[in-house]
Symmetry: C2
Subunit: 398 residues, 2 copies
């Protein structure tokens, strides 16, 4: 979701005006404990849609007033369980310190929280590294932290677009949800924009061969209830990767092989496959592509001149979270020496597309804090890494 | 690995003659405790090869005498931790009772242990079902149990072929390992045999379009150090599935679409992709395909007339274990309404192809016995099921 500075400012103003959270200052710990006892209310994309169409501003505010705090409090409890070394980095202090300020400050700082958290990890890695157990815990936590963040911005944005002054992208949109998202045009859009960057850098770019298969309404275009900006974010990232791999592998002199894209709508799943012939990666490399700690990208200049996230190497793990947010998913399947398939899944049925939210619980507390486990296999279990959310998994698992 | 009755009989005879395990009877529990304290020695396929070429029968016997017991004792400890309801089924009693007999009896009974274990699960499911935690534990255990079994049969077979009277498949073979396994011929073999069955049942079968890409020695055939019977087992299973899906989805009257196979040798991985247009499955169906408890196949006749394993629906999870045994892997990636890609990985470098063996440890004990965990996500985490080895994972994870 694209949340502009304007949106943020609007949210700040709204909350500041209503003074709903005035008493919050000074009683942070108590409030935190209180709200973290509630379980986040996961909404389906259908519920978002229905409420956007039939709800009203007052009930939206009442819901948000509690739900935003519940979601923030749940993840703030987990932040406090991170490895002390990570919490001691200046960047982490900045993130976790947020809760001590008033909500409007939180919201403002929240806009840069991904970058700030990423810098915390870089600071940690540059100091003395982390042990395996801590690394697993960080991977587990960051998937939860960022999906929580996606959900909070979704809640804010829906409120501001549906009931506030922020304009939707089109009259058809309900907030940032398109009830009839034309998947083909999002794919073409993402491809064209990735191609523009690719042409600028390599002076050439691969072509796309696109096949659409609507197995539910044969011959019709493929429309689903979706957040187009999320799907665009994912596709743009994957196209950039596929183009770069293709040109780096085949060189820029010959005609590069096409990038093949298949979009299939079934009765349960919308599936998209982006198939490149960019030489692929081995399983040992693949497993690192989703690892926040092992991002190989050099840190970007910290002067704020670059696009958000550029250079942190978080494109793939964040794209996967955007896919997973409404119960979809993202996988990479690679053949080393040949090419890579990126597979994206989304729920085709809007009542099944419910938010996946982290819950602060005895399980998450244990997973975040436990020490390294005794091995239960002679070797890291192959084939697990890229899909792993469990910090106890061996990080070397392919 | 194909271990014949003859091989078994030979093993029994050898062990019976040497009386190495005579004192075992009557002191089972003590021995079990003793040997389960040792960690199984994982061998790489290169070590198997070197020992097969340069080792001698006496040292092989010395190694096996301890190692077989260590591997058996490690998994027997875990059997005792299975849910009481499962252990109470007649079939499970038969499996776990084995250890009370002499080793020659174990070896004999061992030949049918997969079927017997499968029947235990069917008996359990037919009684009153299992709770989720128990189901996860069973899935975790069976992956360990069967991979342990593959490893034990490998050890036995290598000894009997290299130092005993059992003939290898070809003079080039070292035991059941082919130091220059021609991958193309194994693929063709598996395809032809699956096609034979398919033609018999459907009176037609899809064609195969095979592409071989040797990226290490360009233009050369693809040879790797491998156990051809394991690779054949995997490919035969996957071809049968791809053919059945193709013909069920497209009907038998039209020309069915080809099954495309890509084999790529990179510097680390040998990758094989079998791509069918058999209509695919949704993610919720896919996750069950590797679940021992959710096998949808009707139990086969118990009169012993059918081929081993036929009908238990264990083809996919066991194929995945054959792939994982030497640090390879197997994934299914499906587009519901279109088709499925089956991806097999094997280590291309023999020193990296080490056995993956289960280790009885505090971790495995905990994973086998712990109760259901409090949720840490609002919904089952998508995209995890088919790759899950962790019993604490929600079984509904797609």
């Amino acid at each position: 979701m694209i949340t502009t500075q304007k949106t943020m400012a609007k949210a700040q103003a709204m909350f500041a005006t209503r003074r709903a959270l005035g008493p919050f200052v000074g009683t942070v710990a108590k409030k935190l404990d209180h709200y973290s006892q509630f379980q986040p209310s996961s909404l389906s994309i259908q519920q978002y849609l229905d409420f956007g169409r039939n709800g009203n501003a007052a009930s939206s505010f009442e819901f948000l007033r509690k739900e935003l705090l519940v979601r923030l409090a749940n993840i703030m409890q987990e932040i406090s369980l991170l490895p002390p070394k990570l919490l001691a980095t200046p960047s982490s202090k900045m993130v976790s310190g947020c809760f001590n300020d008033q909500l409007q400050v939180i919201l403002k700082r929240h806009a840069h929280v991904v970058e700030t958290m990423a810098e915390g990890l870089i600071e940690l890695r540059e100091s003395d590294g982390v042990d395996i157990a801590a690394e697993r815990g960080i991977q587990y936590f960051l998937d939860r932290f960022y999906i929580n963040r996606i959900s909070i911005r979704m809640l804010q944005n829906q409120h501001l677009v549906v009931f506030g002054n922020v304009l939707p992208e089109s009259p058809r949109h309900v907030g940032c949800i398109d009830p009839a998202c034309d998947v083909e045009s999002v794919v073409l859009d993402a491809f064209e924009n990735a191609k523009f960057l690719c042409d600028r850098y390599y002076l050439t770019s691969p072509m796309m061969k696109l096949e659409m298969h609507n197995m539910v309404e044969k011959g019709s275009p493929i429309n689903i209830v979706a957040v187009p900006s999320h799907l665009y974010h994912i596709m743009f990232e994957l196209f950039k990767n596929a183009m770069r791999a293709t040109l780096e592998f085949h060189g820029v002199d010959d005609d590069p092989p096409d990038i093949k894209v298949y979009v299939v709508k079934g009765s349960e799943d919308l599936s998209i496959k982006i198939s490149d012939r960019g030489g692929g990666v081995s399983r040992t490399v693949l497993e690192r592509l989703f690892n926040y700690m092992y991002s190989t990208a050099p840190p970007p200049p910290r002067d704020g001149t670059q696009a958000p996230l550029a250079g942190y190497g978080y494109g793939l793990p964040l794209s996967r979270l955007y896919a997973r947010y409404f119960q979809g998913d993202l996988f990479l399947v690679s053949m080393e020496g040949y090419g890579t398939d990126a597979c994206i899944y989304m729920k085709a049925v809007p009542v099944e597309a419910s938010e996946v939210l982290p819950i602060y619980s005895t399980s998450s507390r244990r997973l975040l804090t436990q020490a390294a486990q005794v091995a239960d296999w002679s070797h890291p279990i192959p084939g697990q890494g890229q899909n792993s959310r469990d910090p106890r998994r061996n990080p070397n698992c392919a």
